[in-house]
Subunit: 240 residues, 2 copies
């Protein structure tokens, strides 16, 4: 099933923006009468039928507006420093929307090897992932923010800072309370400085480990993302 992203989708006749028109008509060679799925990236999915296969202004009829299955009861935000290799951040930004995330906040830290993020590139990766996994919501992605400003922002939920340290013995999966909103700061390549860790603690962040494995930054981000989603899925106790 082909999926298109139309931020302004409503039931009825709609025009595709040029890029989606080209993808639909030139790349996928779809013709009038062909059917597909549409996501508005805001929580709704639609059934679509192509009416006019115009390569720059394709027109479709949308019906059956419905809430996506990804309307969750909790919000998950992950803050990550751009990795030295953009491909590694790309990978996290492809997997996180598949697994489930609401917002990605980029930040620059003392040990960051890259202090600027190509947010447009990253957003395109997330849009492709949203379409691939037929999600109705496009996660937000925010450009690089100063770390000091980030940790002082208010957040309505549990705040965690995950990094590698022998003193950090509590696990995210043990400290996270099912159903709560969560913000998780992921240590950059080179990890957080002691000053950054202290600043986060001073601002209410709970120090957590993601387990005894030494994970790459982007692996840690996906593991944190999946941990929060999995705990919210579990219906059977596996511990006590």
């Amino acid at each position: 099933m082909n999926v298109f992203y139309l931020p302004d989708a409503t039931e009825g006749m709609v025009s595709f923006p040029e890029e989606e028109s080209k993808h639909c008509v030139k790349v996928l060679r779809m013709q009038a009468g062909d059917r597909f799925c549409v996501t508005d990236g805001k929580g709704s999915l639609f059934d679509g039928e192509l009416v006019e296969a115009h390569p720059k202004r394709a027109v479709a009829c949308l019906t059956n507006q419905r809430a996506g299955y990804d309307n969750k009861t909790f919000k998950l935000e992950i803050a990550i420093a751009p990795t030295k290799l953009n491909e590694r951040t790309d990978w996290f930004l492809e997997k996180a929307p598949e697994i489930g995330i609401d917002k990605v906040q980029m930040f620059a830290s003392d040990h960051s090897e890259r202090r600027v993020a190509n947010v447009e590139r990253f957003r395109k990766v997330m849009i492709a992932a949203m379409k691939q996994s037929i999600k109705s919501k496009l996660p937000d992605i925010e450009d690089v923010m100063d770390y000091n400003k980030l940790v002082k922002q208010p957040f309505d939920g549990q705040k965690f800072i995950a990094w590698i340290d022998d003193d950090v013995t509590e696990l995210l999966c043990d400290k996270y309370v099912k159903g709560q909103n969560a913000l998780v700061l992921i240590g950059p390549e080179g990890d957080f400085s002691q000053e950054e860790v202290q600043l986060a603690k001073d601002n209410g962040f709970i120090p957590v480990s993601l387990g005894d494995a030494r994970l790459r930054t982007e692996t840690a981000a996906v593991v944190a993302c999946h941990t929060i989603n999995l705990i919210n899925q579990m219906t059977r106790c596996n511990v006590c």
Copy 2:
């Protein structure tokens, strides 16, 4: 900390194979007296000191043999069909050793787009991941096996088949029993055929879902891998 892989490592003087010698001396430009970590891929880590910086036959002194932190009480095997794009299988094979896995079994299924696997390429990816995450054990990787043979093999633990179907309502995280060995079959691109699903059921595999998200094959494999590891890490009940 640089990590080298020496399958025949023992305490005392050891020679590096040519590839590791080149990496150590030519790439990393290490010199006599430099220190590093060594994994034998069989469960032991060592402290190492370079004695002779020979570009083809480097010599080192190994001490302090110890068990790695990755000596777990359960075994995890994931069976996956090679993805159409090798890069996607590479990605799973980089992340799985970081998160924790004992064996990867390749298989060919009715809907497989790729029926051969470059096992040597894949093993190199796993070796790099083992070194990156300072693991003491190199997971096994087995070449493509016929699906019918795979599902009929004996396995000492819980056997699961994960695929996308509205009829599959049980979750892996609910059906897996903490501490048990687990074998998880991951649906290929195009998913399993109904005959393959039935054959797995007939051979004792438990049908499970990985959640309501539509995951790519390699994402599903990493999610299954992390699910089993996370449940074994959790010490606090998040459900009841």
